[in-house]
Structures are given as structure tokens and as C-alpha cells.
């Protein structure tokens, strides 16, 4: 049990905008274990990306600020360590991959240079061995003719190839934890499947811990050990992949599944979740999901639901179960 490598405790990340305070992450806690892949799932704007960026203190400030909580990497609080220490961890022990490979690479430097950059920095290799290692990594993630392509620039790469480059760069220092923020969202379906395969291999071969962020439950199914469903900056439901897929409890989780096409169930129409995601500047009282919930009770708009443990690791924040 105690092989937790990263623990997020009561994390609160707010954005201080002109129109008010956006509580993007409002008290989230979870742990990531060695060799585990944990998926954060939720609609756009539910605070997934803000959570991921908070872990490495990459929130744009201003307007964003982490106002509370702890992020413990082997017990060391990343929110309170020096920026020098944080830089030693970034890219080295904890690496990150971003959503849009089109914009995540610097357009004016070669691919090889950008993959080798953190190898030189963290492994203290000279230019030549660093480039050799970059080449090896690019071959590992399946970039054809990697040796020639290292001299190319990002605009000469397709989206899927760029994401492979991002993965190669992220893996370059053999990090313990990989945070992948919607790594397949900007890619088309066949490429997406290939990239997910790479992640599966990483987990199996390198025993890497992966925090995988996505809005797509279909993507999650293939790679998640555990799933956290987020809504409005809070955890709605969490559990093993089996718990969430077989026995979803939270009405919001149900809603997410109803949005998925399902051949075996013989559904012809998808059922969208009614209403819009709430404004996180002025969130609804009580349970944030209550205005859209079909099981709404009087208590839902009065009291914030507590997390109820259902079984083992499966818990849900909903008044239906308390």
C-alpha cells in the first residue's frame, strides 16, 4: 500500500480574473502509486489541466495561484520546495506531456535539439552523447528515419509524430512519473490508438507511474488502473477502473457513460448530460452538480456532499449514498 510516489492533498488552485475568482481546483486529494496509471476524467473546464499543471507549479501566474494544499513527491512538498529543487525534479523525475503537439514544440529549434535539451541538462551529457540518446529515444517511440529527422524542424512533422517527439523528450531522463495532459485529444483516431499503445508499453516495460488526463472515457478504458472523475474542480467519484466502469455511482459518472456510443447495449441515441458546466466563479451551492442532476434532492443545494467510501478504493461524493 505504501508505495505512493506522489500524493496530492487538498489542492486548491484559483485563477484571479477580472470577473472574479475561478476556483478551478477546489480541494482535490489523490495518490499515485508506483507503476500505476491513474486517469483524471471530466468535461472541459472541470480543473483537470489545472490539477496537472499545479503538480509541477506550471500554472500561469498571474492570473493563477495555488492557494492551498500539499503535493508530496516521496514525502517532499513540491509546493514549498525551492525553485532550484523544483527544476531538478521537472523533466527529470516528473515529466509532462501537453495536449497540443502543434504548439508544444518550439518552432525555431530542431527536433533533435529539443529532445536532447533535458538530457544535457539533467544527465549532464555533452552534445554528442546527448544527441545519440535522443536518437535512441526517438527510435523507441517509433519515429521512422529518426537520424535524418532529428535535423528537421517541428513544422516538418505531422501531429502524431510531434506527439511522439514530446513523449521521447519526456522519457529522456527516465522519469518516475509521467503526467500526460490529454496527449491524444488533438490527434486523429488511428494515431490516437498508436500513441495509447506507447503509453501501455511504457507502463509495462518501465514500471512508470502515469497520471493520464482526458475528457474521453473511451480512451481511459484501455490504460487506466484507477479513475478519478472530476467535476467543477472537485472529485465526484474515484475507484479502480473496474469500479467505475462496472458500478458507476455518481449521477455525473452515469451521465458520462450515457454520452458514449455502445454497440452491445443497442442504444440508438446518445443521451447528453443536460445543462452546461457551472461557472466556477459563482458555483452552485451545495453539490456543484445539483442543477444538472436528475436525482436532485433538497439537501443537494444546501450541503456540499462528503466523500462516501463504498468499497475498498471506490468512493463517491454524492448525497444519494450518505
Amino acid at each position: 500500500m505504501n508505495n505512493t510516489v506522489l500524493e496530492v492533498k487538498h489542492l486548491k488552485t484559483y485563477f484571479f480574473t477580472r470577473s472574479g475568482v475561478v476556483k478551478a481546483v477546489d480541494g482535490i486529494s489523490f495518490g499515485l502509486r508506483k507503476g500505476e496509471s491513474l486517469c483524471l476524467v471530466g468535461e472541459s473546464g472541470c480543473g483537470k489541466t489545472a490539477t496537472a499543471l499545479s503538480i509541477l507549479r506550471l500554472i500561469d501566474s498571474p492570473p493563477g495561484r495555488i492557494i492551498g494544499g500539499e503535493i508530496l513527491y516521496h514525502g517532499e512538498d513540491l509546493l514549498r520546495c525551492s525553485s532550484e529543487r523544483l527544476r531538478q525534479i521537472r523533466g527529470n523525475r516528473i515529466a509532462m506531456i501537453f495536449q497540443d503537439p502543434q504548439t508544444s514544440l518550439n518552432p525555431v529549434f530542431t527536433i533533435g535539439d529539443q529532445v536532447a535539451e533535458q538530457i544535457k541538462l539533467h544527465l549532464r551529457l555533452k552534445h554528442k552523447p546527448a544527441m545519440e540518446r535522443a536518437l535512441y529515444l526517438m527510435e523507441q517511440v517509433g519515429i521512422p528515419q529518426a537520424r535524418e529527422r532529428m535535423k528537421d524542424y517541428p513544422h516538418q512533422f505531422s501531429g502524431g509524430m510531434k506527439q511522439r517527439v514530446m513523449i521521447a523528450a519526456a522519457l529522456s531522463c527516465e522519469p518516475e512519473i509521467l503526467i500526460a495532459d490529454e496527449p491524444t485529444t488533438a490527434l486523429d483516431t488511428t494515431i490516437k490508438a498508436q500513441i495509447l499503445d506507447i503509453f501501455r508499453d511504457l507502463k509495462q516495460e518501465r514500471n512508470m507511474s502515469i497520471l493520464f488526463i482526458t475528457h474521453d472515457l473511451g480512451t481511459v478504458a484501455g490504460i487506466a488502473d484507477r479513475i478519478i472523475v472530476m467535476y467543477g474542480g472537485r472529485v465526484a467519484e474515484a475507484g479502480t477502473a473496474l469500479d467505475i466502469f462496472d458500478q458507476p455511482k455518481h449521477p455525473y459518472t452515469h451521465g458520462l457513460f450515457n454520452c458514449l456510443p455502445n454497440i452491445s447495449a443497442g442504444r440508438n441515441r446518445l443521451t447528453p448530460i443536460p445543462g452546461m458546466i457551472p461557472s466556477l466563479i459563482d458555483p452552485p451551492e451545495g453539490c456543484i452538480f445539483n442543477p444538472r442532476c436528475e436525482h436532485r434532492m433538497p439537501i443537494c443545494s444546501e450541503e456540499r456532499p462528503k466523500e462516501v467510501v463504498l468499497s475498498g478504493e471506490h468512493f463517491v461524493a454524492c448525497h444519494l449514498y450518505s
Binding site: 499543471l53 509541477l56 506550471l58 500561469d60 498571474p62 527544476r87 531538478q88 525534479i89 521537472r90 523533466g91 527529470n92 515529466a95 509532462m96 501537453f98 497540443d100 504548439t103 508544444s104 514544440l105 518550439n106 518552432p107 525555431v108 529549434f109 530542431t110 535539451e117 533535458q118 541538462l121 539533467h122 524542424y153 513544422h155 514530446m166 523528450a169
Partner: protein, 325 residues
């Protein structure tokens, strides 16, 4: 293939440059020659040949230099000579234009070069710093000073600098001393006020452009990637942001060069008595000495055309996405 594209582009641009230079020569020539005064008038005044009949002297001089021919014939003669490398005879200084230029170009060159270096390096540095420290007191201060810098006309700034630092404080001479050796600290010191005069406005402009270009790039995703790699902030800004932000600033600097060569440097040279091309041209305009004026205008035009071409070539290695084919 990429190289061939660039070579073809350069050849095309050089042909355009030749056509534009020809146009500049033609327009400048006719502007000066169709004016009411003859270069011979001023020549006469300079010679102080009072003993003879002035009208006769003028006629003799005009005949000697072909000034009595119809203007279009003079024009053809002038252009043909120019093409042969003969830049004409300066009436007001009694020497070949080539020799005049050789004697004076270096004074303009050093002024423009130093002003460019001063304004570009300082402007870009302040601009980037200001962007990184956006909305802090430093940023507001830099913004305030750059607006002041942009608003001050440089001839006024030059006169004020002379008044304060040369007349009141006596730190500098009020006039540029041509007797100083070119590569000496004394010469550098003599150029401080002229360089500030010419460079302040440009520096203020570059600060604004560098600040906004940096801000644009600071919000790009690749900056987040660079930080996530664990790179120190000086590499994130100095490498990843800088290389992207510098491109628009270089465009503005090259664009400014034409303004400096034609405008600011003239005024600065006149204010500080620097005997550069601007001052020579200024004197030549009043003397109706058209070969000098046309030549200096042509040099200015060529400098602009060639630096523009050089800029386009520099772009290709600053930003690999730019290609000419």
C-alpha cells in the same frame, strides 16, 4: 532545392534593387536640376573671381561642365558616367564626388553603427525584462520612459544634451572634433551625445516592440514545455522566448535604418557638427551641388535595399519556417 529557391529570390531582389536605385537617381536628379538655381552660381561665389564679368564666368563654367546643354542630355550624360563608375564633380567643394564621399562616409558610418548597436541592444534587453516583469513597477517605468523617448524629437534632445552636458556641466565638447583618431576612447566619448541623440527614439521603439513580442511568446505552449523540462528561467527566456520574439524586432530595426540614414543622422550630424554624409548632403543641397546630393541619396537607397535583402536572408536561419520559393 531550398538553396536554389533562395538564390533565385536573391537574384530577383537584386534586379528590383537596381530598378529602384535607377528610379531614385532619376527623381533626385530632376528635382535638383529643374530648380531655379544653377550650380555654377554657387561655384562662382566660392571662387570669388570678382575681376571678371560674372555672367561670362558662369557661362564658361556651365560650358565646361556641360550645364548649358538641355537637361535631358545632362541627365543621360550623368547616368552614363555613373554607370561607368564616374560619380561626377562636386562644384561646391571642387573635388570629385568619389573623393568627397571617401573622406566623409566613415563619420556617418560610425555614428549610425554605434547608434544602432546602442538602441537595439538596450531596447531589446529592456523590452524583454519589462515583459518578464509585466505589471511591476519596473515595467511601468520602462513603459513611461519609452513613451517619453518616442515622443521627443531628436533635434530637440540633441540641443538639450549639449546645453546640459556640454555647456552647463562641461563634460563634453559642444562640437565634434575631427582631429581625434577613429579608434580611440576620446573619439568614443565625443560620440556619446550624438549616439544618445540619434538612438534614444529608436531604443524607445525597440523597447515597445520587444516587450510585446516577448509577451506574445511567453504565453505560448512551448514555453510551458521548456519549463516542464526543468530548464532554468534564463534559458527559457534567453533561448526559447528570445529566438521567437527577436524576429519582429529585427524587421523594425531594419525598417528604421532607412529612417536613420535619411533623417535622424542628417539632423544629428548638423547639430553636433559631425562632417558625415548627412552634413555634406545638407551643404550640397543649399549649394545646388546636385552630383553630391544624388550620390548620397543613392547610397542611402542602396543601404536600405541591401539591408532589407540581408534581413530576408537572416530570417531564413532565424526562423526555419520562412522559405522563399
Amino acid at each position: 532545392m531550398k538553396r536554389g529557391g533562395l538564390q533565385g529570390y536573391i537574384i530577383k531582389r537584386l534586379i528590383y534593387a537596381a530598378l529602384i536605385a535607377f528610379g531614385v537617381v532619376t527623381i533626385t536628379f530632376f528635382l535638383l536640376r529643374l530648380g531655379p538655381s544653377s550650380p555654377a552660381d554657387k561655384y562662382l561665389a566660392n571662387m570669388s573671381a570678382r575681376t571678371q564679368d560674372p555672367a561670362q564666368v558662369v557661362a564658361a563654367i556651365e560650358a565646361r561642365y556641360g550645364l548649358d546643354k538641355p537637361v535631358y542630355e545632362q541627365y543621360i550624360d550623368y547616368v552614363v558616367n555613373l554607370a561607368r563608375g564616374d560619380w561626377g564633380w562636386s562644384f561646391s567643394t571642387s573635388m570629385p564626388v568619389m573623393k568627397l564621399i571617401q573622406r566623409h562616409w566613415v563619420y556617418s558610418f560610425q555614428l549610425i553603427l554605434l547608434s544602432m548597436l546602442f538602441s537595439a541592444s538596450l531596447g531589446i534587453l529592456i523590452g524583454i525584462y519589462s515583459a518578464v516583469k509585466q505589471y511591476t513597477r519596473t515595467d511601468y517605468l520602462a513603459t513611461l520612459f519609452s513613451f517619453i523617448g518616442i515622443s521627443i524629437p531628436n533635434f530637440w534632445l540633441g540641443i538639450m544634451l549639449i546645453l546640459v552636458f556640454s555647456v552647463q556641466l562641461g563634460w563634453f565638447k559642444t562640437f565634434y572634433d575631427t582631429g581625434l583618431p577613429m579608434f580611440s576612447l576620446a573619439n568614443l566619448k565625443a560620440l556619446i551625445l550624438p549616439v544618445i541623440t540619434l538612438g534614444t527614439g529608436m531604443m524607445a521603439g525597440y523597447t515597445r516592440y520587444a516587450r510585446s513580442a516577448t509577451l506574445d511568446n511567453l504565453r505560448k505552449e512551448f514555453v510551458k514545455t521548456a519549463r516542464a523540462k526543468g530548464l532554468p528561467e534564463r534559458v527559457v527566456i534567453g533561448k526559447h522566448v528570445f529566438r521567437n520574439a527577436i524576429l519582429p524586432v529585427i524587421t523594425i530595426i531594419m525598417f528604421d535604418l532607412s529612417g536613420v540614414v535619411f533623417g535622424g543622422a542628417y539632423l544629428t550630424e548638423i547639430i553636433f557638427g559631425i562632417p558625415g554624409l548627412g552634413r555634406i548632403s545638407f551643404n550640397a543641397i543649399f549649394a545646388g551641388d546636385y552630383p553630391v546630393v544624388v550620390t548620397i541619396t543613392l547610397i542611402g537607397a542602396l543601404v536600405v535595399l541591401l539591408t532589407n535583402l540581408a534581413t530576408d536572408i537572416v530570417y531564413t536561419w532565424l526562423d526555419p519556417r520562412i522559405r522563399y520559393d
